[in-house]
Symmetry: C2
Subunit: 350 residues, 2 copies
């Protein structure tokens, strides 16, 4: 219907070069970049007028935009997208960064959360952007084996080896006096009836049957089952943590308090960001350019992250959030490096 049958512009090499230059400069300076400045900053064997023409076409193609008529150009979300997908020059991590990151893999603590947190701290330290980590409530399906340690007449320690390989222990108060032999039979009954039984299969008949088998030690079941439920019962909700929230405030695009408010509302609700991570393909660095999404509050911000999967779906992640005008190459490389090390570390424990 539109009469303007407009020969679509081709993305020539020269256009690419100019687009890259514009984005590079904008990332460095944070301000709209004009044809004249571009000319003297980067070396092009062209005149400013030609660059102006090219920039006008790049704008029509949707890669650049103009805050107002008499201003320079800034990259559009689509421009950033093209940039990160195929324009930017790779960054290779420094020796020092590699070494520091390796420390994550070195410590093989059981605690996945600690590893993620440390990685997240390093992200902020390296990049100076706000970093985040998601920690999925990795709830074991079932208890593989029960062991117990006798403490005194009314208390003992229940040690549970879980289906995910981890080990949890809890103190249990017994409502009746219990000698070491009694405890032994309790443990046996638990192993016989509950080994590798998922939570949803543990029902009242089963519990009653166990109480019966225990005879006079039956009353012990009540606190024991409470403890079991505590361990494999309710899937603790996904956690989302941020480090270096002050960092994002340093950028002029977030000098408007209203924008910061919206961004922090987004952080606080946790929901949107969590879903973003859960929906993404695990194992590779993702770049989400805020204004390309429908997520309120993400305008002008970009999130880079990589998630870690367990049996197929993402369960945890590390990443960063900064202005869309961001050092992409470096950020992507560093998230990749740190994620590699996290993966190695939590792989070790399994």
């Amino acid at each position: 219907m539109n009469d303007r049958q407009h020969e679509p512009f081709a993305l020539t090499e020269r256009k690419k070069a100019i687009l890259r230059a514009v984005i590079d400069v904008h990332i460095r300076m944070g301000e709209p970049v004009g044809s004249k400045f571009l000319l003297q900053d980067q070396q092009f064997s062209l005149s400013s007028a030609t660059i102006r023409n090219e920039m006008a076409e790049l704008e029509e193609m949707g890669y650049l935009e103009q805050p107002h008529t008499s201003a320079g150009r800034i990259p559009s979300p689509a421009g950033y997208r093209l940039y990160v997908d195929s324009l930017m020059t790779r960054y290779s991590v420094s020796k020092q960064e590699t070494t520091r990151a390796a420390a994550i893999a070195a410590q093989k603590t059981d605690a996945v959360k600690k590893v993620l947190e440390q990685a997240s701290r390093l992200v902020t330290e390296f990049t100076q952007y706000t970093s985040l980590y998601m920690y999925g409530g990795e709830v074991a399906e079932s208890v593989l084996r029960f062991n117990s340690v006798w403490v005194d007449d009314v208390s003992f320690i229940l040690v549970m080896t879980l289906s995910d390989g981890s080990v949890q222990s809890r103190g249990v108060q017994s409502p009746i006096p219990l000698d070491p032999d009694g405890l032994k039979s309790v443990t046996e009954v638990l192993n016989r009836n509950l080994s590798d039984v998922p939570m949803e299969k543990i029902n009242l008949p089963l519990i009653l049957r166990m109480e019966e088998q225990l005879g006079r030690f039956g009353p012990v079941m009540s606190p024991v089952m409470k403890t079991v439920y505590d361990i494999i019962g309710d899937p603790s909700p996904v956690e989302l943590h941020f480090t270096g929230l002050n960092r994002i405030l340093r950028y002029p695009e977030f000098s408007d308090i209203l924008r910061v408010q919206k961004l922090f509302d987004l952080f606080e609700s946790e929901e949107e960001i969590t879903r973003l991570i859960l929906d993404a393909v695990p194992g590779q660095v993702q770049i989400v350019i805020g204004s390309q999404t429908e997520i309120p509050g993400m305008e002008g911000a970009t999130m880079i992250f990589r998630s870690f999967a367990e049996s197929g779906h993402p369960i945890s992640a590390i990443g960063l959030i900064g202005p869309s005008r961001m050092e992409y190459a470096r950020s992507v490389a560093l998230i990749g490096l740190l994620a590699d090390n996290v993966e190695r570390s939590i792989g070790h424990t399994a």
Copy 2:
């Protein structure tokens, strides 16, 4: 030396009433309050001129200040101090608040941190201010007793009952094949040599002696000692967590991005706030009016908190941070209520 021998003003009841009124109104409106407005808002049987005189004297006494000559008065830090100490009208918590808060004490999970976190969430939900909790690295002094659970030839689980009453377990990989009897003797040696021995007393000669006692199982000591060190060795640093950081952005006194930056820098460093809590008297609600301290970034903000002590010194805390213009009475009451419940809850576990 100063010739101006100025009869010091007395803090008459009328002055108190006016000061209270000024602060009440300022808390509600957020703007400097003038004599005329005060008159029509609250009912005084006085003229605006009289109030002006009184306010001028209150200013000279240091309780009020004037942003500029032609503005109303705002409370000074000292004014707020007087207000919270003796002027404000008590707030009594609602039935609903009491009930909700009681849920904290109800769940007696081992995890102190979880309790603090939940309390912190409730603080924000109730008051709509940014809340925080501090969680002190409660490191046990020593291991009271070792128990072990045999898993397979090369791995076992070490269960340690600590001096603070808690129980920790860790999987250990053995460098040499180990049968159940071997594990038993390892455990015996540990109990004989390390029971209730504080970290600083565990030195190389002691470890060597144990290896000797173990004979061919000596090599097991290395991973075991690593685990022990992991549990009682390095005091994990004090943690400080915030909830509802977006809340503070809603107040006009924090609409200036520079102020917000400084405040968030303060949050991020954690050091100053941690010390504030550690230096305070535990067990009672503390009110720290930012501008009365030397802490950079606290200007215009007020922190209300209560800490929990263990053997005398503060180890954890919950609290909130908001603008100095804050609903003090309600905030204090709610922090008190929630802290009571936290105390009850973590008391139960001990």
